[in-house]
């Protein structure tokens, strides 16, 4: 069974240095998060509150989207709707063409990654430049993010130093992080200065006031949304919340869960383009609302919880699988536990069904999730969807795709015998008698492990000898 995913995982597991790097980074992030929540009762209360805020928003999603659209439109923001990433890309392109723009400066946006916007625009002869430092670095190297909030986390300082030197020969080689940062600042300042269109994602959209909220540390998000005359925000339709008072609790739990910061350096709240009495800010603001499978997820009461996600990355930071295989092995835009449940739902079990097996179901992701998404339960549910027969009862694309007749028959037989005690006991006795026939090599399991040695006497026999009679 050597699939692309398995090959990538094997490759990643062989990279000892990168693995050590990930281990160190994730340990730091976990410690930072823990330090932000010294009082567990307060943390749990805040998680319940954040869950209620997101669940409430989803329960009113169509109404809130209408309200958001109305509020934003009234303030002069142009709202666009896209069912697919293709449509979203076309919308961005047509805005750029209207302004004859040849380049776009981008703040960090995972939805734009989902759209494959950079490649799309480049094919149209438009330069799409990432301005978040991590995104800028990986873009220089032609890579994709390996983490949703720390895109260049897989790269060491030495690699980044070399990369800067290769791409900008005028800049002397340095491993000094302050100097590297200063170089990036200088290069990108020019780009902010000249760009005619800026693009950003959205962390939360407030229906009540028509406000787009952006969380960031560097200031590139503020630059991208303020300096160019046109600002395009792209986001998923699930990001809306009902009231402005819903924002402070979410802002309180997001950065603490993500990087272990009490708050990010900037929290940027945008409610409209430049007004007549203002002297800066974009004169045009567009919001592109992307579906791309979200409304499909919305139709299932259990899977719906997936859409509560506020993209903090805590599940990723705490995942024992992610820390070993890294973000690129997943082969998806969103890696780690959230990617494991989101990507197969968006793109179907045929393409990414294998991801749901890449979990030990240890439960860490569900325990740290700030909006209490039961990620392990959803993984289980998707595993079930992948083999279920009554595929009409789930919205998951390609449900039943992993169903094998033999496996299904074995489970049916098991289920039947388990509900017939005498047969079950008889089978148990026979299996016990024949236990010596279990081979030493049992496929993949024993490739890296020694097969367990069976005891001379069964547990039943040993207990009987001790005088314990459980039946």
């Amino acid at each position: 069974m050597s699939t692309e995913f398995r090959i990538d995982v094997q490759k990643a597991l062989g990279k000892t240095e990168v693995r050590a790097h990930f281990r160190k980074a994730m340990d730091t992030l976990m410690t930072n998060r823990r330090n932000q929540f010294p009082d567990d009762a307060a943390l749990q209360a805040l998680r319940h509150q954040a869950q209620a805020i997101r669940a409430n928003a989803l329960s009113k999603l169509p109404e809130l989207l209408e309200q958001l659209e109305a509020k934003l439109t009234a303030k002069g923001v142009q709202v666009h709707w896209a069912e697919t990433t293709d449509e979203a890309n076309q919308i961005v392109l047509s805005i750029m063409q209207k302004h004859q723009a040849k380049s776009i400066i981008k703040g960090k946006s995972m939805v734009s990654e989902e759209m494959g916007l950079n490649h799309f625009l480049e094919a149209q002869g438009i330069e799409a430049l990432e301005s978040d430092l991590g995104e800028f670095i990986i873009q220089l190297d032609g890579e994709t993010p390996s983490h949703i909030i720390m895109p260049a986390i897989h790269k060491s300082k030495e690699q980044i130093s070399q990369l800067f030197h290769d791409k900008f020969p005028d800049i002397p080689y340095t491993e000094n992080v302050d100097e590297l940062t200063a170089s990036a600042r200088r290069i990108l300042r020019d780009k902010f200065y000249t760009a005619s269109v800026g693009l950003s994602g959205v962390n939360f959209a407030v229906a009540e006031t028509g406000t787009l909220c952006l969380v960031e540390n560097e200031g590139n998000g503020r630059m991208s949304t303020t300096v160019p005359p046109v600002h395009i925000a792209v986001t998923g339709i699930e990001k809306v919340v009902e009231k402005l008072s819903d924002i402070p609790p979410l802002l309180s739990i997001l950065p603490r869960s993500a990087t272990g910061q009490p708050i990010t350096t900037y929290f940027n709240m945008i409610s409209g383009p430049r007004q007549a009495d203002e002297k800066d800010g974009p004169t045009e603001v567009h919001l592109v609302l992307l579906d791309n499978g979200r409304s499909n997820i919305y139709s299932d009461p259990e899977l719906l919880a997936t859409l509560r996600c506020i993209r903090c990355g805590a599940c990723i930071n705490h995942c024992p699988v992610y820390v070993r295989i890294g973000g690129h092995s997943y082969g998806t835009v969103y890696p780690g536990p959230i990617g494991t449940i989101l990507e197969p739902q968006k793109q179907g079990l045929k393409v990414h069904g294998e991801l749901i097996q890449a979990s030990s179901l240890c439960g860490a992701c569900g325990e740290v999730c700030p909006v209490r998404i039961p990620i392990p339960n959803i993984i289980n549910r998707l595993r079930y969807d992948s083999v279920r027969k009554d595929t009409e009862h789930t919205p998951t694309f390609d449900a039943g795709t992993k169903r094998k007749p033999l496996e299904a028959a074995i489970w049916q037989g098991w289920s039947w015998s388990a509900s017939h005690p005498s047969l079950y006991n008889f089978g148990g006795t026979v299996a016990t008698q024949l236990r010596g026939l279990v081979p030493n090599k049992v496929g993949a399991w024993t490739n890296v492990r020694t097969a367990p040695q069976l005891a001379d006497k069964t547990l039943h026999q040993q207990l009987k000898a001790l005088g314990v009679d459980h039946e």
Binding site: A25, T28, H48, Q49, A52, A55, N56, S59, P62, K75, H80, W81, E83, E87, S131, L133, G134, I137, M150, P151, A152, K157, I160, V177, D178, L180, A182, R185, L188, R189, T209, T211, N217, E218, G219, N220, T226, I237, S245, I247, P248, P249, L251, S252, I263, T265, Y266, N268, M269, S271, G272, P273, E278, K279, D280, G281, D291, Y298, S299, P301
Partner: protein, 215 residues
């Protein structure tokens, strides 16, 4: 793309709405810290992210500010002449670096703003003690880029506008009720990043230094 909109809404409205337990939603986070405690926490948080905090009062802030400008060797200071602070500074212009005013649209003086301004001074709508945060509502007098483009941002914060939490500020200042400005921003330190090997670096794209004067 209105077809896309119609189809998205068709799918969203076709399903039975989930029933949600909302009991936890409304709790308002706030702390019973007195003014002194709020100032202490605000200062501690700000300093932890390498912001400067200078404690002053309504009588002495002008001296303090002149001192700061001199210590930093500023050649220019960008400000609005129309705010309470800007007026006082303008009346004492000889004690300050060359004052500049953001009195034209950005297009008219973009190059100068990006290359020939050492520091921008703004007022604030208030502060948040829990996280060490300034709240700004930029407007025609104090535009958005005033606190973003110059390498140093100096902000004046009145201590009686220092709230314990963001939730408390939003409620007491009635943000939702009065309607949001085109841009509101929370600032909690100088611009920073840890994207290179998790090493913290300051002054990435926004101001390299944040200076807060408490009055």
């Amino acid at each position: 793309m209105s077809n896309a909109r119609t189809r998205i809404f068709q799918r969203l409205t076709a399903v039975e709405r989930p029933v949600v337990d909302l009991s936890a939603r409304e709790s308002l986070s706030r702390f019973a810290w007195d003014k002194e405690e709020r100032i202490r926490r605000f200062t501690e948080r700000m300093q932890a992210v390498r912001a400067e905090v200078h404690v002053s009062d309504r009588e002495h802030w002008l001296d303090k500010l002149a001192e700061i400008c001199q210590a930093k060797g500023l050649n220019h200071l960008l400000l609005s002449p129309n705010t309470e602070w800007g007026q006082a500074i303008s009346q004492n212009a000889t004690r300050f670096p060359t004052l500049k005013h953001y009195d034209r649209p950005i297009e008219a003086w973009k190059h100068e703003l990006f290359h020939e301004v050492d520091a921008g001074l703004t007022s604030t709508l208030g502060g948040i003690a829990e996280t060490g945060t300034l709240m700004l509502w930029p407007n025609g007098d104090e535009p958005r880029l005033l606190s973003l483009v110059p390498p140093i941002h100096i902000a004046i914060l009145e201590t009686d506008k220092l709230f314990s939490t963001f939730a408390e500020a939003v409620q007491q200042q009635a943000w939702a009720e009065q309607g949001m400005p085109t841009n509101a921003v929370l600032i909690s330190g100088p611009s920073r990043s840890a994207d290179i090997a998790q090493v913290l670096a300051y002054g990435v794209h926004g101001p390299k230094e944040l200076v807060v004067v408490l009055v």
